[in-house]
Every structure is written in C-alpha cells, then in structure tokens.
Subunit: 123 residues, 2 copies
Amino acid sequence: MQGLHITADLFDCSATEWLAAEPAALDALGQALARQAGLAVVGSRFHGFGAGGGVTGVVLLAESHLALHTWPEQRAATLDVYVCNFSQDNSAKAEALVAALLARFGATRTQVQRLRRGSRPPP
Amino acid sequence: MQGLHITADLFDCSATEWLAAEPAALDALGQALARQAGLAVVGSRFHGFGAGGGVTGVVLLAESHLALHTWPEQRAATLDVYVCNFSQDNSAKAEALVAALLARFGATRTQVQRLRRGSRPPP
C-alpha cells in the first residue's frame, strides 16, 4: 500500500470552459486522462453545484483515486492523484495525469505538494 | 477554496470485519460518519475488488471529499478527509471524521499527515 499522493491547487486558470463544464463532461475528461496516463478506471462519481457553482468529483482507480474540485468563479481548481505501488511503481503515471490536468485547465499559478504514504511507522 | 486535507494511513487494524466489508456497507459507514461529523454528503461511489480484495470508495461532500481504501489482507487502510473553508472553518469536522474512522477500524498504528491547501502562491 505504499504510494504517492500528489495534491495540486490551481489558480488563474485560462480554460474556464473546463472549470464551468457539466459534471458529465468533467467525469469523461477525468476518466480519459487517467486512462491515457496508463491508470485503470474502476468507477466515478461527479456532482455539480448548479449554474456557475463548480463541480466536485472522483474517478476511482485500481491504483487509488483522482479527485477534482472546480471553482469557476475563482478560475481555480484543486486536484488529487493518489496511486499505490502494489504491483509496480505508478508514480510516473500519477505525475503524467497531474501534468495533463494542469495543461487542460490552463493553470498559470499552481501549488503542488507530494506525500509519500503507506509506510508503516516505527513502534 | 482554502482548506485542510488530512491523510491517515492505518496499520494493525483490529476491526477486520470493517476492512473486509462489502462496498455498500463501507459506503453507508462513510456517509453516516461524515454526517455525524456535521459534513454535507452530496454523493458517493464505492468499488470492491472481490473476495478478500478490499474496497476503494469516495463520499463526495459539499465541503470536498472523504476517500477510503482498505487492504484487509494487510489489516490496513488509507483515508483522506479534505474540507474547504468556504463559508466557515470546517477543520474541526474533518478532524472528528478522521477520529471516528480510526476508532471504527480499530487502528493501533497510524501515520497522519495534514496539508493546508488552496492558498494562492506568491508570483
């Protein structure tokens, strides 16, 4: 269960059409980019907060998950890509997925944090 | 969109019946504990990896999300509780939800990390 969790907070996004997209469109985008990065989609759920109100959603992966929250009124979004390295090191796939999403949203200012997870702490 | 993201990696869990529960049972548990913590559930999706293989799932919140992955064969699980403080500070609710999940899974060894997210970085 050791793995990499990347969080990315995006500001000043130029692709506001994606930030304000319907939940179904962001669901399809998240699934497509996850597959392009080589990750295995096992389910998804997206929810819209109404006209102009943004979307919150998650793509469940065999490797863990992608989460996505948009704030179109602030031209902002937050992303999580968490992958476990159960049978192989999926870190490069996680980085590729984050990079693809940053490009799609046209983020010009970002705060990216990386956590190593799942290592048993000492007694 | 400023908020708190708590990750918790759980080891040596005593409540293996919860780690090995059906996706629907973990979905109901996640939703119930989120509501008990005062958070607003707007959707969920859980996926099981077959007999003995664990569950991956997410409860979508108006405040952001709860994610949960179980490894019953390792008596382990990983959790994420991410809340944004759009209209009020939801940090205490996030901490309460993590504490409730740790108790339910009977974790005896944990690695908890806390990230502050959503602050615009300087130019």
